[in-house]
Every structure is written in C-alpha cells, then in structure tokens.
Assembly symmetry: C2
Homo-oligomer: 241 residues x 2
Amino acid sequence: MTEATRRERLRAETEREIRQAARALLVESGRDAVTLRAIARKLGITAPALYRYYDSHDALLRQLCDDICADMASALYADLAAEPSGHVGCQVRAVCKAFRRWALAHPQEFALVFASPRDPLGADQFGSVFLQLAGRLIASNLVANHADDEVPEVLHEDLARFQQVLMDAVSVHGVTVEDDVLNLGKIYHVVQSWVRLYGHVALEVFGRFPFTVSNPEPMFDSMLDQMLTDIGFQEDDSAVH
Amino acid sequence: MTEATRRERLRAETEREIRQAARALLVESGRDAVTLRAIARKLGITAPALYRYYDSHDALLRQLCDDICADMASALYADLAAEPSGHVGCQVRAVCKAFRRWALAHPQEFALVFASPRDPLGADQFGSVFLQLAGRLIASNLVANHADDEVPEVLHEDLARFQQVLMDAVSVHGVTVEDDVLNLGKIYHVVQSWVRLYGHVALEVFGRFPFTVSNPEPMFDSMLDQMLTDIGFQEDDSAVH
DNA sequence: GAACTCTTGTAAACACCGTTCACTGAAACC
DNA sequence: GGTTTCAGTGAACGGTGTTTACAAGAGTTC
C-alpha cells in the first residue's frame, strides 16, 4: 500500500506539521504571527530547516492560502450535503449561508485569502463549490430566462469565458448541460450575486457597515432573499428554505 | 497670525513629514514596508525619535488610516463638486464611480482601510461623503417610497440608529429633512447599495472575480445602473448621466 | 561491509524590525 | 542666568527572513 519510502513518508509528515503550525498561528494571532521561526519553534526545529520545504516565507503563505481554500471548499460541500431537499434554491441558500458562517468563524483566513492584493486566485481553488452550484443553478429552469441583450455587449467576451468555466465545472460532476440553457444573461446574474454575497460577508467580517449592526444575521438573510428573487427564483420556491 | 511657537511649528512640520513618508512607503511597497526605521530613514532621523510623535508602530498605522480616509473623502467631494447637474441620481453615480476610481488608483490604501479586521472605522472618517449623499438621496422624492414593512422587524432598531446618523450628517450641512421622508425602507436600500458598491470594488481591487475580467468598467457601470434602478430611480433620470 | 551521494537538519552570521533607556543639546521659560 | 522642557541620539534587547558552511543520518552502489 505505502509505496513511499521511509524518507518520503517522514518528509510528508513534516510538511503536514508545518502547514498545521502555520495555520494555527494564523488563527491564534493573525497574519503577522505566521513566522518562519514561530513555525519552526512549534515543530522543535530551527527556522532555516523550513527552507528545505519552501523557497521563502512568501511561498509558505501562498501554500497556506491554498490550504485554506481547500478547507473552506470542504466545509461548504459538507454544508451543501447536509441540505436534504433537492431544491436548487435551497441549496444555493445553504451554501451562501455556509460561506458567511465560515467567514465569520475564520476571519483571519478570510482576510488572507479574500482581501489581499496578491496574485489572482485560481478559480479552481476556492470557487469550485460556487462554480458547480452556480452551474447547476443557472442550468435549472427555476431561474428566469434573462435575455442576453440585457447584458452590455462589452461583457459578452468575459462572460462567455466564464460560461465555459462553468460548463466545465458542471460537466466534471457528470452533468452535461445544453448550451442555450446557460446563457449570458443568467451568468451575468450569477456574477452579480457573487458581488452581493461577497460584499455583505466582507463588510460584516471587517466591520465596515456604516453603522453598528447589532444583529447582522437577519440583514444577511434579507439580502439573500432579495438576491434569490432578483436572480429569478420564484418566491414560493425560495420560501421553502 | 502664527501664534504657535517656533518649537510647535517645527513639531507640526516633522509630524507632517512622518505622515507623508509613511504614506509614500505604503503606496510604493505595501503595508509591510511601512516601518518605523524606513520612515525615520526618509526623514534623516533615527527610529526612536518617532516615539516622540507616536506611541507605537500600531498607533502610527492608525493615524495613516485616518489620513487615507480624509484624503479619500476630499477626492470624493472633489468629484462630486465636478458633477454640474443638480440631479441627485447623477451625483450618486458620480460618487460611486469616484469611489471605484479611487480604490483602483490606491489599492494599498484601500486594502489597509477597508479590508483589515481591526477596530471599527468611525463613521465620520470615511463615510461622511456617503452619509451626506445618502441622506440627500433618500430625502429626495426620486427614490421610490419603500414601505417600512418590507424591512424585517429585527433590523428596525439598527436602521433607526443609522437613520439618526444620516439625519445628523445631512443637517450638519444646513439641510433639514422631515422624519417620514427618510423612512426605514429607504435606509435599508441605501445599505444594500453599499453592499453592492463595496462588493464590486473590493472584488475588482483584489482580483477575486471568479474569472478574469478583461474590461471591468462596463461591468461596474452595469451594476451601478441596476443598483440605481433597484434603489428606485426612474430610468430616464439615471439615464441623464 | 565500505564508499558514496542525497537529504535533512544545525549553528552562525547578516541585515532588518519594534521598542526601551540613558543621555545630549538646544529651545523655552522664569 | 539658571532651570525646565523636549526633540533627537546611540546602544542595546529580542525578534524577524535569509544565506552559508557544515554535520550526520538514510539510501544507494560496488
């Protein structure tokens, strides 16, 4: 079973511990606490040893971002699986709520991944859940058929590229979808929804609402209702919860 | 005229230079480059001297945030003043576009102020432009009269507090507004608009759209159109530009 | 089993960081 | 003129990322 040599196993184990220590430091004390020396201290080794595993502190932080994205995707998939009804609307709602819940429970991770002006996040990394769900969503007939000509023509090219990404994401999971069902108008609305979802969650995590919100959850739910209505879900469907 | 003593003048000048150097470092090389020693080097002094002006590195960063907010407010006011028409809709559009423009031109500043999980930003700091404009906006009759009962009851208390903030912000500038004109429904829509505006701008600055957007401006304009429509502006008014 | 290479770690060093502290010299005050 | 106030210095402490030379064990080859 274990084809790996003893050395490879040890190396993999150490690498796992490095990631784990880095993650713990981030969660406990924020980005600035994720220090090579602090990580090394947790493992009982010295800082230069870490250079056998990562080229630089920056590379280690990038790895940390990837790990966070993967973990978040797992969490969202789990929440999605816990949504028993087959209603796509309910599933969308569940994932959006799960995203907010995850961000509030992991503010440091959220800040690192979603609010750093660094290299563009590979779409596969964090977005696979969203992508897959968005693909199923706009493929389902529950979504109103927004006409393509609602969308400014300059956006066609970018949205068409996104369309391809979505169709690939959906087809990976076995489902194939007709080209015309997944039109640009629908895709445009998905992007608009991502703007609102991300906007609300980021504002809440960073405390940047223009006034102190004592109970942000119903405000989020309210936004979600409006979003699902705007995207074209019938009210009776979104009311299923 | 200059009542200040020579020492006070020198001190004020040095403090100005400190802020300026800190800002330059942030813009040139990002948050992590804003170092006490780097600032001191720019001024030709030593790092401990900075402790005569700020209690700590963190306090200096807070000051930097305040300066950034003030500068951004100035920029937005300038763009607002450059909007000749008296149409509130055009003014809202102008400020929103100016906010995006400012954020894209100052990504490091934007990240520091709007995407750090630190103490809540005093509303007066960055929000005065938004607040004043939002106050005028919802006071104007162009905005559809959203009924209060559209708003979940749990939000009433928070929105009422925001209502008070808005009315104060508007009345500072001489305009008084009737209580019923500025109802909770309208305020709720202002908050929703802030979510979308912030969401789009942050996603663009941080490159977190789920696909590469080759030309984000029309996407923003499109979002803005939708936002202004949703908030209740008639199309012919928002079409004035 | 001996000789060899590859890998993983160490220790020391360098330059940088925030922060503290004792000290200096000049400005301001009485 | 003597005293106080205060901006600035230099040295120091412990922290950081990173490089370098070196040791020691694991795996391989003969």
